[in-house]
């Protein structure tokens, strides 16, 4: 029984207990508010990371199309087959079906099906038809994900220019590397909610972040020209038993490359296949070296001594500086003495008396050495740099080789003399072609390039690529003189094999001996352009180590002639001189 007195203090104490408990509960309520309002984002984000399984969806890589929209690099849909261990219901059925459809050994499939992992890839790059077939079995735990694989419809065409992609669709060589950003697109994701064991929660559905396909790259290459040039190069390589033949076709006015051929090419769809004669017992390093050699783009990755085609540059420098004019007269006894050295002309009997135009038509070494010496080391070096020969051309392909040239302070008259007719230094074929273009196009140093514009999936232009042009490296007058001299080289001089009936062609031949001298290895080359008075197309053909006749005029000039015979009408360059 509670006495009144007792009751009062007991009641007070009971009240205190209640209030204390209620206060603690209210405090806990406050703690909950903090967790569920202030920290809610933090914890739910972490929880979502825990609950979601991510599968990425590859973005379709952008296509590469030629100037007319012909697709040169495309994607084909392939499937990746994987198993999710926790969702498998009938492992034996899965193993037998996958073995049969994918033509894999049972041990291989069994090991993967029975492995306890969240997701195990069985096979990738499976044909879409097989992937669809497996999907139709509707096997729980088997995932068929569609995926893209790079596909090159023309196989070997322009292999060293286009390049190819690796396992993650990333560019390995060529344009695929340089335009990676344009082409790659953005991968998407499939996010599925799973329980703690990794089993998908059906009713939660999936969240998809759609991939953004890459942009289409339009390049200046013309598939028809590229294909024809490849045929010519392959033919020449076979008939001349050469090591390799390169052809570059360019628009000399803006630097757009229409074709770049380096035979032998390789199959872009199987870039890792080695020629059978190499055998199979190669070390990994040997194999990689062999592949690198196969993938090498000689037009830009390798340098050579240009030989007589370089006389175009010496002539332009001489004319520009005024140390020589078309009427200047030279006499060639078959050699010239520079300091204490006697340098021979290719015609040992000598060309006798001739003016500068004829000296060029005859490709007379003593005449050009004289021009070089008249300029002197300082001036010559100045022009060499002004013409852009010391820099790279800036082409949008990876691995361009730089110029190998004497240092100015080490250059004496002998070195100057050899440089004047294109020896004792090395440049890339593209460098020669670019410099020659700049001299004949009115004096604008252009940047050779393939990339024209990037297009989105709807074909709208997203980005137009621009390239630097350096104006007035030579005057228009010098340029005009050069064009007419070079036209005479083809019409009456050493380049007569480059003549195309009905067209005005300019050009210059070269025969250079490769180092070491006396090895009997030559490079025959020829630069030709048309129309001679207003060049719209320029081409170079380089035959590396031809057997038998090795003169540029005999070996290389006919290649460009045949090329021009076909492509000039194709390009709409009409007959002028009739």
């Amino acid at each position: 029984m509670l006495t009144n007195n007792n009751k009062i203090f007991h009641r007070k104490k009971i009240m205190v207990v209640f209030l204390a408990c209620a206060a603690v509960l209210v405090f806990l309520f406050g703690r909950l508010v903090y967790l569920m309002v202030w920290k809610a984002d933090h914890y739910s984000e972490m929880a979502t990371q825990l609950h979601e399984r991510e599968r990425s969806i590859k973005a379709a890589r952008g296509k590469i199309v030629d100037r007319n929209g012909v697709v040169l690099a495309d994607n084909k849909t392939v499937c990746t087959i994987s198993v999710i261990h926790n969702q498998i219901e009938n492992p034996e059925e899965i193993i037998s079906i996958l073995c049969r459809e994918l033509e894999l050994s049972e041990d291989y499939v069994r090991a993967r099906v029975e492995k306890y992992s969240s997701m195990e890839r069985i096979k990738s790059n499976v044909d879409k038809s097989i992937g669809d077939k497996i999907r139709e079995y509707d096997l729980p735990g088997v995932k068929v994900d569609e995926d893209y694989k790079r596909y090159y419809p023309y196989g070997e065409l322009a292999s060293k220019v286009l390049g190819f992609t690796g396992g993650d669709n990333q560019g390995i060589i060529g344009l695929e590397v340089v335009y990676e950003e344009t082409l790659e697109g953005e991968a998407g994701t499939i996010l599925t909610m799973t329980d703690a064991k990794g089993i998908e929660v059906d009713e939660a559905g999936e969240r998809r972040i759609e991939p953004i396909p890459g942009n289409t790259l339009r390049i200046s290459m013309d598939r028809n020209i590229q294909e024809y040039a490849t045929q010519l190069a392959t033919q020449a390589m076979a008939t001349k038993e050469a090591d390799g033949v390169s052809i570059i076709v360019m628009n000399p006015q803006n630097g757009e490359l229409l074709a770049m051929v380096n035979v032998p090419e390789f199959d872009l769809n199987n870039p890792y296949d080695l020629p059978e004669e190499l055998g199979t017992d190669l070390s990994a390093e040997q194999k990689q070296n062999a592949l690198n050699a196969i993938w090498r783009n000689g037009c830009i990755n390798d340098t050579y001594e240009p030989g007589s085609t370089f006389k175009i540059i010496t002539a332009a420098a001489g004319l520009e500086e005024g140390v020589v004019s078309p009427e200047s007269s030279f006499s060639c006894p078959g050699f010239i003495v520079v300091d204490d050295r006697k340098i021979r002309c290719h015609k040992t009997a000598g060309h006798g008396g001739q003016d500068f135009v004829h000296a060029t038509m005859n490709s007379c070494n003593p005449a050009f050495i004289t021009v070089g010496l008249r300029l002197g080391v300082d001036k010559y070096y100045e022009y060499f740099e002004k013409f852009g020969l010391k820099q790279k051309t800036g082409i949008d392909l990876p691995g361009e080789a730089g110029t190998i040239m004497h240092k100015k302070e080490n250059m004496g008259n002998v070195e100057l003399a050899t440089v004047s007719f294109g020896q004792s230094f090395q440049i890339t074929p593209l460098q020669l072609l670019t410099t020659a273009s700049s001299i004949i196009n009115g004096g604008n140093r252009i940047t050779p390039h393939f990339g024209v514009e990037a297009l989105d999936a709807q074909g709208n232009v997203v980005e137009e690529f621009t390239y630097p042009v350096q104006r007035n490296i030579v005057s228009e007058k010098t340029s005009e003189t050069m064009r007419s001299i070079l036209e005479l080289v083809v019409s009456e001089g050493t380049g007569q094999n480059g003549k195309v009936e009905g067209f005005r062609i300019g050009g210059k031949t070269a025969t250079s001996q490769t180092l070491p001298r006396g090895s009997g290895r030559y490079i025959a080359s020829y630069v030709g352009f048309a129309p001679a008075d207003n060049p719209q197309v320029i081409a170079i053909a380089i035959v590396n180590n031809p057997q038998g006749v090795y003169y540029g005029g005999q070996v290389a000039a006919p290649i460009v002639r045949q090329l021009f015979e076909n492509i000039l009408p194709y390009l709409g360059i009409m007959e002028y001189n009739q």
């Binding site: 029984m1 007991h10 207990v17 209210v26 309520f29 508010v33 809610a40 703690a196």
Partner: protein, 389 residues
């Protein structure tokens, strides 16, 4: 007042006695809500393990019904009937705790805390018995001691009397949380029985000091201290750093609470119950309530507990005698301490220790004993004469 002395008067005045329907409604609500949440939290794992999504819910339903029957029976027995069993109950709980060590003991979840009652396949947790018996024992003791409660000797006697049981629960069944609950019930009951405040303030300050020093030692020697409890403390301070280990359950509970936000994911939409939070229907069920029903669901539950305590306070204050009042205070303390500690653990306010949420968490023996206690409270309430109110 002395109403129980003659049966005749009792029957006559029955209608004037009080029955606390509010309390009953609150308890029934918590039970019903608990069933829904147990089903929601356990169905996924239950289906996985037993092929029956309602496996745990059905078992809990049976325990609830048995508990309701026990409550009705106890509510209709005049509570003074139990007074004579007070000391016996104390001894029985001690014996039951010791029985855990015999072959009758059952080990589960890495701890030996249960005994099997032969024949009916029902497992009993002696700690639950001890809680109930301690309430009865102390209420009886306070009444027996009368005025001597106020002396210092009486005060210490009351405080020391429960310690053997507390020690046994902690040492023999290695059950710190139950030991804390029993000690807490005892302290609250002694607090109400004794008119003094000072001593309790001193006890409170001492307790705070001991906890502070213990925490400080553990934190300052974090690298060297090993063992079950100190690891739990470190996991409490920074659960995310130990998310794969001791902090796992806490972090998963926090994820669930955080996911709930203000409005919750919706009933049945918890992700954390999909095996991320193991045995979500047990001690951590409050986090699933938070995840599915949000802050509002959590507040509703907290409010229900506050109302439950309030009803018990009213009953205790108006109890017809001190014994009744002390019984209700004990039950009130038990439910309050357990609810507070459970929510505090789930929200990582205190270090993780296994305490179930009264009436809601899955667990048959817990709900049975809670219902018996509610029966006692209702029985006390019945003795209240309406004119006293």
């Amino acid at each position: 007042m002395a109403a129980q002395k003659t049966g005749k008067r009792k029957r006559k005045e029955q209608s004037e006695y009080y029955f606390d329907y509010s309390l009953l409604v609150i308890v029934l609500f918590l039970l019903g809500f608990g069933l829904i949440m147990v089903y929601s939290a356990s169905s996924y794992e239950a289906f996985d393990d037993y092929g029956d999504a309602a496996y745990y819910m059905k078992k809990q339903l049976v325990a609830n019904i048995l508990g309701l029957v026990a409550m009705i029976v106890v509510a209709n027995i005049p509570y003074h009937f139990w007074e004579r069993f007070a000391f016996l109950g104390y001894l029985v709980s001690a014996v039951l705790i010791v029985l855990v060590m015999t072959p009758l003991g059952i080990e589960s979840h890495g701890a030996r805390r249960w005994i099997r009652i032969p024949g009916i396949g029902f497992n009993l947790q002696p700690a639950e018995v001890a809680k109930l018996c301690m309430i009865l024992f102390l209420a009886t003791l306070v009444c027996k001691m009368g005025k001597s409660v106020r002396s210092l000797k009486g005060f210490f006697f009351m405080l020391l009397a429960p310690l053997p049981i507390v020690g046994m629960v902690y040492l023999i069944t290695d059950n710190l949380s139950s030991a804390i609950i029993i000690l807490g019930i005892a302290v609250l009951m002694v607090f109400v029985a004794s008119p003094d405040y000072k001593k309790f303030i001193i006890i409170g300050l001492l307790g705070v000091a001991v906890i502070t020093i213990a925490l400080f030692t553990i934190i300052s020697s974090a690298d060297s201290v090993e063992g079950f409890r100190s690891e739990r403390i470190l996991a409490w301070l920074d659960p995310e750093s130990q998310a794969q280990d001791k902090g796992f359950q806490t972090v998963q509970a926090l994820y669930a609470i955080g996911r709930g936000g203000i409005w919750g994911q919706g009933l049945g939409k918890s992700m954390q119950k999909l095996s991320f939070l193991p045995e979500a229907q047990n001690d951590m069920i409050f986090s699933i309530i938070c995840e599915e029903l949000g802050l509002f669901g959590a507040v509703a539950i907290i409010l229900m507990f506050i109302m439950l305590l309030w009803r018990m306070m009213i009953i205790a204050n108006n109890a017809s005698d001190l014994f009744g009042a002390m019984l209700v205070v004990g039950v009130m303390g038990h439910i309050a301490i357990q609810a507070i500690l459970n929510i505090a653990v789930v929200t990582n306010t205190i270090p993780n220790t296994g305490i179930s949420l009264p009436f809601i968490s899955y667990g048959g023996s817990s709900v049975m004993f809670l219902m018996i206690e509610i029966g006692l409270v209702l029985s006390v309430a019945k003795r209240i004469q309406l004119k006293e109110l």
